[in-house]
Amino acid sequence: MPEASTQKAYRLHLMVCAGTGCVSNHAFDIKTALEAEIRKRGLENEAIVVPTGCNGFCERGPILVVQPGDIFYQQIAVKDVPHLVEEHFLKGRPVARLMYVPPAEKAPIPVLADIPFFKKQVLVALRNRGLIDPEKIEESIARDGYKAMAKALTEMKPEAILSEIALSGLRGRGGAGFPTGLKWQLVRNAPSSNGGAKYIVCNGDEGDPGAFMDRSILEADPHSVIEGMVIGAKAIGATAGFVYVRNEYPLAVARLGKALDQAREYGLLGEDILDSGFDFDIQIKRGAGAFVCGEETALIASIEGRLGEPRPRPPYPAQSGLWGQPTCINNVETWANVPVIIDRGSGWFAGIGTETSKGTKVFSLVGKINNTGLVEVPMGISLREIIYDIGGGIPGGKAFKAVQTGGPSGGCIPREQIDLPIDYESLSAAGSMMGSGGMVVMDEDTCMVDVARYFLSFTHEESCGKCTPCREGTKAMLDVLTRITEGKGSAGDLALLEDLAQGIKDSALCGLGKTAPNPVLTTLRYFRDEYETHIRDKKCPARVCRQLNVYTIDPGTCLEKGKGCGVCRRNCASDAISGEKGRAHDVLQDRCIKCGVCADVCAFGAVQVS
């Protein structure tokens, strides 16, 4: 039955962000405290607390947005709740001290829409962001949920749906950017064997370090994904669908499960949907978190109950996918875009973005950036706008160095290319890729050799081991990179890395292997001098590679400021610091294991790193 919030009118809607980020910051405690305080004040018929999906401004969580008025409260704690309820919700006086104040400014910005982080965003996939409770299907329906599906099932022929998706210019949001309309057409045209079924799959196996776009969409608006899949099913003639999602996303799994139940209850999934004669249902398949299962053939193997390993393509899943039948696999964000295109028309969608990249893209903005969070921007926007206007720049006055897009398959884009427009082609030309939308910002304190080594260690760890180039090749590259970061690099190492990279790209079985060398290749392309400094001078310019650092203690500072306090000496695990308490200390280089603890614990800045 419809619940209270969808039937009863309240004068205040308190939208509490309940995405994973805010939940880990105790958002549910705040929700409970708000509800208790509202009852205590006798406001339970006037104000309702609504849990929503991710608001996006994760840096400032826990977040509460008050409607009407769009008042944005941030970093609220349970102890703030009584004051907030009395002042704002009872007496109508918004509480300035809980509002957002931009770095280096003094005046708070009360209204969400006026905050720079939100201003430049264009919401298509995240159109219901902060506006609905994802666990109430009626709230999704009120925001045009299932309207496009109704139109597709009762007014449109499959060809018309295919044509709309093709004309919209929508391309896959999961990585390579394959045109969605073309993929659907291929699956529609492919004959199923023995009169068998065709399948729809939603790929929610999001595994890139620092990426949380798909999780956030599934948590915030699962009905948009379900609706997109039903529309796709009608277009290609599928009867069953699967959402493959990581079990390490418990909130997403739970909300999607609830959404599927509600959709079935309303007859929006199942047999004879909306009396249209069309049958379709969706199951959740939970993955164990193997990165390779994001690759479509490995994902199919995993759904079928086999070991999650890729197989050679062709045949592509469009010809032979799940149980050998034609299968259409699209990413979570791609599916979430589909209903809007059908509802508002391909022309509307194609009006956003660039010549070859239409619509918007969701990014998770992380790393050395002031405004960590989830953002949706029109294609063609520049990296500068994302990093400085939306992201608020680099913390601590540090210089921007590079941004990593596309996860372990992508690459690093250097400072010189900060005006690069974000579209599929520009990112590929820069040596990186759109990927699924992870965007890791790096500042001057980041060592690019170490970054490359990190990503290689990730892909090496996640390699399924089926093909030799990936299994052995990534290990060989990782060994070279590790050697370089430890000061044991030699002159031929860069050529060796390039050779190995080319070999793996040419011969690995699947996308994981073929793209694994990209972080190394882009850092070699843009930051070759850093590699050379590590090899030739045995130095790490960013002082990240500790094996290359030399730790010394300035005797003057140690004695004058620290009075020879001895903290470094007590904390040194290898007894590499000399000097009695009250005297200047010194590092015994032959015993130093370069762990860096002395520099971390010295409160007087006497330990110098060079």
């Binding site: 009118a9 009407p68 109508g92 006086r93 329906i141 009120a142 309207k147 109704a150 007859g267 909306l274």
Partner: protein
């Protein structure tokens, strides 16, 4: 919940959209502001708000914003409220009770006719932050 038809889907959409409209801003026919300072609450402003909430719910009015603000400075004449029809100057009402509030909602907010008997005057203090 039985299976929906296309018509029922559209009806659910329209019905729920009404209750959720205040989340999205947009156009409202009127804004009614009940002054909820300590003085207002002591004089009975909570009962005025409850009456308005009740009236709006039973009449299924979806395009009137009910809000509160602090003391308007005229504590002796509380409870007070300000009615602001879209595009018109705000009108202040004083010495209210639940019955008067219901009457103002019906005649002024929904009917467009100022209730001179309870009105203090036209205009408002500044309420911007």
């Amino acid at each position: 919940m039985p299976k929906l038809t296309i018509d029922e889907l559209a009806k659910t959409r329209d019905r729920v959209r009404g209750t959720l409209a205040i989340r999205e801003g947009g156009e409202f026919r009127a804004k009614v502001n009940v002054h909820m300072g300590t003085c207002g609450i002591a004089a009975g402003a909570r009962a005025v708000m409850s009456a308005l909430m009740d009236e709006v719910a039973s009449r299924e009015v979806r395009d009137v914003l009910l809000t509160t603000s602090g003391c308007a400075g005229l504590c002796s004449q509380e409870p007070m409220m300000t009615v602001e029809l879209s595009g018109r100057a705000p009108v202040k009402y004083v010495n209210l009770n639940a019955a008067k509030a219901r009457e103002i909602l019906e005649k002024h907010v929904l009917g467009g006719a100022l209730v001179g008997e309870y009105a203090l005057g036209i205009g408002s203090e500044r309420t911007d932050l």
